[in-house]
Amino acid sequence: MILKAEKLSKEFIRETKNTNRFCAVQETDFVLESGSFAVLTGRSGSGKSTFLHMLSGLMTPTSGRVLIDDKDIYQLPDQELSRFRNQHIGVIPQGQTALHSLTVLENICLPYTLYGEEAHETEALALLEKLEIAHLKTALPAELSGGELRRMAIARAFLRKPELILADEPTSDLDDQNTEIVFQFLRQAAQDGAAVFAVTHETNAAQYADRLFRMNAGQLQG
């Protein structure tokens, strides 16, 4: 898989001194190939998450294209893009992202069960074991700590063994030990052939990454 961003930019309508438009991401070209782990750092509000959301097909860019294997994902109808994201992209969003009426195991199996496929519970349980939350498989999200919920979201994104993994602050609620586990996870996914892109504030993420980028006031550097 090759992920390409061509002249990708995003502007929001917001009153500033001279204009009512705010440029979150300036025109950017970006390429990420299978087996590569790229890390993006930068200050809060610099446009990191916006960039990641555009890559994941969740935020329509103001200009430019996002190509996955030469397929312009924003030209796909919603149903097709959604199914494509379900099958090929593992997104780890910011914050707590559990469905509260489902158990931990059901939450993790969602990428499969959402479209009526077999749940793949064995693989899900194996991921829970690796992330050290297997004992919580029947618990409801309300019973979990912030860190446990993050690990649950990571397991969910990994379950389908996606070709592209996009992680937005995947270690924000985790202790050092679990942070290391998660980055090893992402590193391993890249070694297994996935294209991995992580947005993070963790300074030690660099040691796991193949490529390091920095977002500075909407400008991608690196």
């Binding site: 969740l58 919603d78 969003p93 992202t97 959402l114």
Partner: protein, 401 residues
């Protein structure tokens, strides 16, 4: 099974308080739609039943005993009372031109004291000429009534084979009538032979207001259908003009008051249904909007995992469907629990004929109320479903941080 199919139910079970409130709201809506419709239909069925039970174009009664209101209280409202006129009047009326069918009836009110089992209106008819009572009595009793046989109205606490005593005379209950929703439900019917014997007995016991009557020489009222080629108006005017000391009344006029009251009550109920429906729609719209807004993060997560806009809308619509199904069934059952046992209380309170339609019709109204409530809920939730399907996933996910 797709989790997106199970998710709506899981979401509802996951928040029982929110679910209970929404079910309660839809139940109220369904109760009003079903209960209101059933009320209006029962009133109309009652009026129709009364019209068909009266079954004659004209009723002729003794003038002095028959101001219109007196007549209505006895015939229409179930009050007990009686009056008589000479049988000669009957003969005179019968000779009027334009009469197609004619039959006399005999009234007697039983007393509430020891001589009588029940205080009821007793109506006697002539089986040879009767054309109003016999047709619907036949549905409950196909045989000829023997002397001292009576047929009791549906609301009376007497059953076939029971013996009731009126002025010391033992009468056998030969049949019990189906419910009519009218004053006839509290009346007793018998043939003229029996009622004349009862009138005589009331005279013998000095319990009849009329002291010097000969039961064989009097009638209480005369029922008439105009012959073909004659208008009711012609026959009615002819009787009032040529037969002294009687009053001929058009039966349709007698029930016009009831008809007007019914129209008034129906209008009020119809307005109430519309008001509650609009209010219910708005409340549900807000309730669904609030409920879904609280969970927009969850919907954003589903988008991240790969749910399409249609899937999100489908989940929301299914939730509304389940809620409205449960609520509408509850409302309809509640309506049945209120209206079925208390129909007599409602009839007495409204002072109008009130007859529930058939079970099949009621089932139809339940179905209609359920469908209408579900439709209302679906319309109310469609705004939220559309909005949630177009959510800006990235913005919601960022808003959490």
């Amino acid at each position: 099974m797709k989790i997106s199919s199970a998710l709506p139910l899981r979401n509802l079970r996951g928040n029982p308080v929110r679910t209970a409130i929404l079910i309660f709201l839809t139940a109220i809506l369904s109760l009003m739609i079903f209960g209101g419709t059933l009320m209006i239909t029962s009133l109309k069925t009652g009026l129709h039943s009364l019209e068909s039970r009266l079954g004659a174009d004209i009723m002729v009664v003794p003038y002095e005993a028959a101001t219109k209101s007196n007549l209505e209280t006895i015939v229409l409202q179930g009050a007990t009372g009686y009056f008589y006129m000479d049988e000669a009047k009957y003969q005179k009326i019968a000779s009027t031109e334009g009469i197609g069918q004619i039959s006399a009836q005999f009234f007697l009110a039983s007393a509430s004291s020891g001589c009588c089992s029940l205080s009821v209106q007793i109506i006697g008819f002539d089986p040879d000429t009767d054309f109003t009572i016999t047709p619907w009595i036949k549905k409950s009793y196909g045989q000829t009534l023997q002397k001292y046989d009576i047929i009791v109205g549906n609301d009376l606490n007497a059953f076939v084979g029971d013996t009731l005593i009126f002025y010391g005379v033992e009468c056998r209950v030969a049949a019990k009538l189906d419910k009519t929703g009218t004053s006839f439900d509290t009346a007793v019917f018998t043939n003229q032979e029996t009622i004349k014997a009862l009138i005589q007995s009331s005279l013998d016991k000095n319990m009849n207001e009329f002291k010097n009557i000969n039961p064989d020489k009097v009638v209480s009222c005369v029922l008439i259908n105009a012959a073909e080629g004659y208008t009711v108006e012609d026959v009615l005017n002819d009787i009032n003009l040529h037969v002294k000391k009687v009053k001929a009344v058009r039966t349709k006029d007698m029930i016009s008051g009831i008809s007007d009251s019914l129209a008034g009550v129906s209008d009020i109920i119809s307005i109430l249904i519309i008001v509650v429906w609009i209010a219910g729609m708005l409340i549900l719209l807000l309730a669904f909007a609030m409920s879904i807004s609280q969970r927009k993060k969850e919907f954003a997560v589903l988008r991240v995992i790969g749910a399409s806009q249609n899937q999100l809308a489908g989940i929301v619509m299914q939730e509304a469907l389940l809620l409205c199904l449960a609520g509408s069934l509850m409302g309809a059952v509640l309506g049945l629990l209120i209206l079925l046992p208390f129909q007599q209380v409602i009839e007495e309170f409204l002072n109008l004929p009130f007859l529930l339609p058939s079970a099949v019709q009621i089932a139809g109204y339940v179905l209609a109320a359920v469908i209408l409530t579900i439709l209302t809920g679906c319309i109310a939730v469609s705004v939220s479903a559309f909005r949630i399907s177009r959510i800006d996933t990235a913005l919601i996910l960022r808003g959490d941080t």
